[in-house]
Each structure stands twice: as C-alpha cells, then as structure tokens.
Symmetry: C2
C-alpha cells in the first residue's frame, strides 16, 4: 500500500489525501515545550493520543519527557512495543480483558493507571496480585470535566486507603484533567478555570495526605493550560498532547495576555483538486473520512480559499479572493482537531524543504480498546 522508499520525493508528487508533518515546525514545538517546562519543577509526560506514534514519543523523551500518557491500553501496548518504557493510562480500565492486558504490560514496562471506583480497584488488585506484579494506581478526580473521576474531597481518601491496602497495587497520586478549559480562548478566563480546577485537586490531595498517604504524583493539564500550570506550580506532571501538531481550534487561544500561542500548526492534510465545476468552486478529495469534523471543518492554508465538507471523500473549496487553482493542484488544510484526524490515517509524511524526509507509521491508529 505505502511505499516507504518515498524519501526525497517532492511534496507535489505525493498522492493525496495524505497527512503531513512540517518537520521544522514540529521540532520547534518540541523544543518550545521542553524550554517551557525546563525551568519549572514539573515533569513532562506528553499524551500520545494526539500522535499515536512511538517514534514521536521517543522524540518527546529526547526532549525531556519522563514517559508518556495513553488514553487506552491498546495505545500503551503500541508504545511499549515501540520501546517506550514508562506509560500512564489516563482513563479507568474496567473490562476484564483490558485489565489482563494492562497487568501483562506491567511485566514489561513501568505502568500506571487511574481508577475512580472501588469495584474497579478490587478488580485491578486481584489481577495484579495474581500476576505477582505491582501496579501503580492514581485516583482520577473530577475537577470540572464532568466525565470520569471521583468528586473532589474525602471520597478520594477512602479509595486511597483501599488502593494502599491492596496487594499488588501502589497508590501513586492523583489525576485531575479538565479538557474543556484547554481551548478557552481568553487567557484570563482560562487561567481562572485552571485555578479553580487546581484548587479542587489540591484540596483533595490534602485530604488524602491527612489520611496518611503520600501523594507522589499530581498529574493533569494539557497544551492550553501548560503555561498556567507551570506558573501556578500545583501539578508536578503535565500531560500536553496537541502541542506537537496544534490545530485550527487550538491555535486560536490567547497564550498570555495579548500573546499568541508559542506552538504553531505542524500538521496538515494534503488534498488535490479532483473536479473544477467553476473557478469559484472546486472539489477537493478530502472529506469526513480524511479530516475529522467533530470540531468543525479544516482550514485551508492557501489564503483566499474556504473549505466546506461535502461528504465522505469530498470537500468544496470556495474562492474568497485566492489565486486560481487548476485541476490536479494540491493544497494543504490545517485540521480542526489533530487527535481525531490522526486517527484516520496510517502514515505521517514528514516534510522538509518541500520534500519527503521520512514516513512514520501511526502505530496506534484505531487502538481504542
């Protein structure tokens, strides 16, 4: 299907639709996150749900990451298979099949997982002790996401007791992630929400410590909150994911008062004009199967053209003042949501100076189990 001997091919010869990484911009994003975190007391544990690639995870480790976060056991397996030795699973693992796989993985790597329920902790403990391994468990706290997690406060202390007293489990800390606030555009509004979430997590950590359990890890945060998380200093592990690629949604945020984000889009979808009903309305070979729509349509990088979805495999480019495009011309689109767009592809094409420099498999694509 894919030729891996594409190195050196000029971008304009690459067939479409294809998912591109602008390597210069991507490397800048890696370096900027490293720089941002370097002066703080936080560790960086990037979330691989954004890229699903062990190769990129290794680059993140080379830029100071202590390990990675994974959304699913399948992602964690792909990372360990690719040589990453320290993985944290950020969602409760509750089916018996996945608990078995998680425990098996913990024989081969440093594995931690979150939990938010006594029954789940019991199941994890049974599997871990039967396998004679020690599994690190963090308690997930709902700091405003209204998704998984225990409410802030005393309930977590009870669950920490249970974890600490379970053979096979080690109580390792707390996780408080608030995804919704990551993309709040206004710095002031975002900062207020980050503070509010952090206060709930710190109050819970206090309750857990008062019960006699050290809270080694306080993990959370994302690309949008990372600057504020570092400034506030409450978390000691950060989970940014999107910063490596960014997207048209994330790039809109005000990083600091009046300042744009230091991270810029490195990911794009290359599409071709496959039909040209008029000079003002072109058909591109990019649709719902090659650009995720959960956060709206992707945005054309070529100025003066606006993209609209037109089905599974088609999009319409409307001319809004751009230079003329011919049948067969290729243009790039910036995804509206990098994570869900990456999950549609099997390969990244790394581009530098207009040529393919590298082709990276998206090893954990579709690994939602």
């Amino acid at each position: 299907m894919i030729e891996t001997n594409l190195t050196g091919l000029p971008l304009e010869k690459l067939d479409t639709p294809a998912l591109l990484i602008d390597l210069d911009q991507f490397e800048q994003n890696l370096a900027r996150m490293q720089h941002l975190i370097a002066g703080s007391h936080c560790r960086c544990r990037p979330h691989v749900k954004s890229h699903k690639s062990p190769i990129i995870a290794h680059l993140q480790v080379r830029h100071g990451a202590v390990g990675v976060c994974c959304a699913k056991v399948g992602e964690a397996e792909a990372m360990v298979a690719g040589g990453i030795s320290d993985v944290h699973v950020t969602t409760p693992v509750s089916t018996p099949e996945k608990i078995s796989r998680l425990v098996a993985l913990a024989r081969r790597a440093d594995v931690s997982v979150v939990a938010d329920h006594f029954d789940n902790v019991n199941a994890l403990a049974e599997a871990a002790s039967m396998s004679k391994i020690s599994l690190k468990v963090l308690i997930e706290i709902d700091v405003g996401q209204q998704r998984c997690g225990l409410p802030p406060g005393a309930a977590a202390a009870d669950l920490a007791d249970r974890i600490a007293n379970s053979r096979g489990l080690i109580f390792a800390g707390l996780q408080g992630y608030q995804g919704r606030l990551q993309a709040i555009v206004s710095f002031a509004d975002r900062r207020r929400e980050v503070e509010r979430s952090l206060a709930l997590l710190l109050e819970t950590a206090e309750a857990v410590r008062n019960r006699g359990h050290p809270v080694e890890v306080l993990t959370g945060g994302g690309t949008g909150s990372s600057g504020i998380d570092i400034e506030l200093g409450g978390l000691n592990e950060l989970q940014p994911g999107s910063y490596v690629f960014m997207d048209s949604t994330y790039r809109r945020i005000e990083w600091e008062p009046g300042q744009a984000s230091p991270f810029e889009p490195s990911l794009s979808i290359l599409g071709s004009v496959v039909s040209r009903p008029s000079a003002e309305r072109l058909v591109l070979d990019v649709g719902w199967k090659t650009a995720s729509s959960d956060s709206g349509p992707p945005v054309a990088k070529t100025t003066g053209w606006s993209f609209e979805f037109a089905g599974d495999e088609h999009g319409i480019l409307h001319r809004t003042g751009g230079l003329s495009l011919a049948l067969g011309d290729k243009i790039e689109l910036v995804p509206s949501h990098c994570d869900t767009t990456v999950n549609l592809y099997d390969w990244f094409f790394g581009i530098r100076n207009g040529r393919i420099e590298t082709v990276w498999p998206i090893a954990a694509r579709g690994r939602s189990q």
Copy 2:
C-alpha cells in the same frame, strides 16, 4: 491485536469498543434489496464505501449484484484483491499516481470510472493507451449535488465525443448521483427531488445519444431513493450502499407514504460503562475515535438512555427512564452514519444468537487514496 479464534464467544465477553453486525438483520437487508430490484430492469451495483469489505461485496454479488461501486482507487484495489471482478469508481480519478494504479487494476478486473473534465479524459486516455488496455469511462453529471460533474445538457455530448474518440477509452454511459436527497425524510419530497434529478440525467442522455453515442449505463441512486428509482425506471444501474447496515439517520426516512424503511439497522457499536459518577450519568468508552460525529451522535439501542459525545474516547449516557446500568455493563449504539463509523474500525464482529459467529476484516479501511 485481534484474535480470530473468537468464534462462539458470547457477546458479553467481547471487549469494547467493537463494531458489531447483527447477521440476521444484515441478511434480511441483503435479501430485501435483492427482492426489491429483482422485478425491475435495473442491475444492482452496491457501493462498498459503506462496508469496505470484500467479504460483504461477495455476499452482495451472491444476492444478485453485477459488481460494486467504489469511491476510491484504493477501495477498488482492495475489492479486486479480495476477488471482486467488476468495479466502478464513482469519483473522478485525477492524480497521475492514481491514474496509473487504475490502469494497472484494469488489467486484472473489469474497471470503469467517471470523468467530468477534458484534461482528465486526456490523462486517462494517455495512460490507458500506453498500457494497451481499454478503460470504460462514464461521464458524471451534476444532477443537483453541486459537487463533481458536468452540468446537464450539451457539455456531456462534447465530452462523450472526446471519450469515444480516445484510444484506450470506451464511452460507457452517464452517472448522476444526488447524495443530498437520499435522506430526505418525507417520501413525497424525496420522490419529487429524485424525479427532478432523473429528468436532468435523461435529458443529458438524449443529448449524448443525438451525438451518436449509445448510453449503455445510466447509474446513480442510493438506499434512500432505490424504491423510487425502480418505480421511475430511468436508471439501469443502482448504487445503494447503506442498506446493508442502515444507521440512525437513514432509518428515519419514510419509505413509501406512511411506511417505514424495509431496511433496518444491523450495525452497532458495543461500548462498556467505564465510570459511573451517578446512576443518572454514566461514562461509556465510545467517543469521536469510535463513532463518527459528522451526522450527530449515535443512538443507544437500550431504551431510556441517551448518548452524548464527551471527547475522543468517551461518551456520556444520560438516563431518561432506562433500567439501571452497572460499571462494566455493555450497551449497543446505532451509528448516526454507517460509512464514516466503519472507516474507524479494522474488524466487524458478526453476531448471531448472542454469540460471535464470524470476524471480518475491514480491508479497505482508510483506503482514501
């Protein structure tokens, strides 16, 4: 990753998220389309973009299909690799790379493709004649979709001239597909739109015939219009795709005045309750990476529960009167759009009498090139 020795496993033991086919319902849908078309003068050429599986394509052929439609060359390659010998590509193929692949495929199978532009016809002719093959080309007419296609009328006759006079190409007919009208709920409204589109196609066929070119194939239609297409009798090939699976969008249509669709959902997403913040609000392990959102959220099959997306890998089940669900319980969701949901998975699990009967690879998943 996937064990293929899952045959006989009870559904409740299957890990999640997973994509299921209710085989009884699926087979009913196959039989009903065969029955619907059997009495007409139409041939059935189902669109595989909905299922991307050669195994299902073979079942369609066994139910009377003369071949299949594919959205992309990559889908056509997967079908031919899986033993399907007659493929029609329903979208213009315009990049040089794909034209080469299409021509190569035409050495191994009966291949047709649509075109809507002189430059594209020239490129197809050059590639076909250099390879000494004959490629069947249909002209795509824009009968209201406002996507690809020539406008109805004389322009198609000019392009038919060019195709007929090009070495390596055979002018084979016209395609007029109107995707937007397929899901119009009201029968009367849908019928009116189908008539309008058909009139444009027939008027164009007349213009082409008057130029001396026989129009062997008049292809178009989809699941939503198929009953009307057969009644009107203008097309001689139909392209239904979704009927095998259906989805929550398609099932809403009024098939005939006051009558529901004869096709019912056979596809579902199996998810597990992974967190249970309250009895009224549960977290399911199904999100944007396992259920497409372009046509809205999927719909819970369990009555009294309503699904809301909550991120890449999460959804919230809100209780609206349903029976209580516990942590680890599994429930099924009907996708809002089968085509784009199928494209997220690597495997179908065929279920009968509550057990896995078969596991089918989704061979053309992600084959958007």
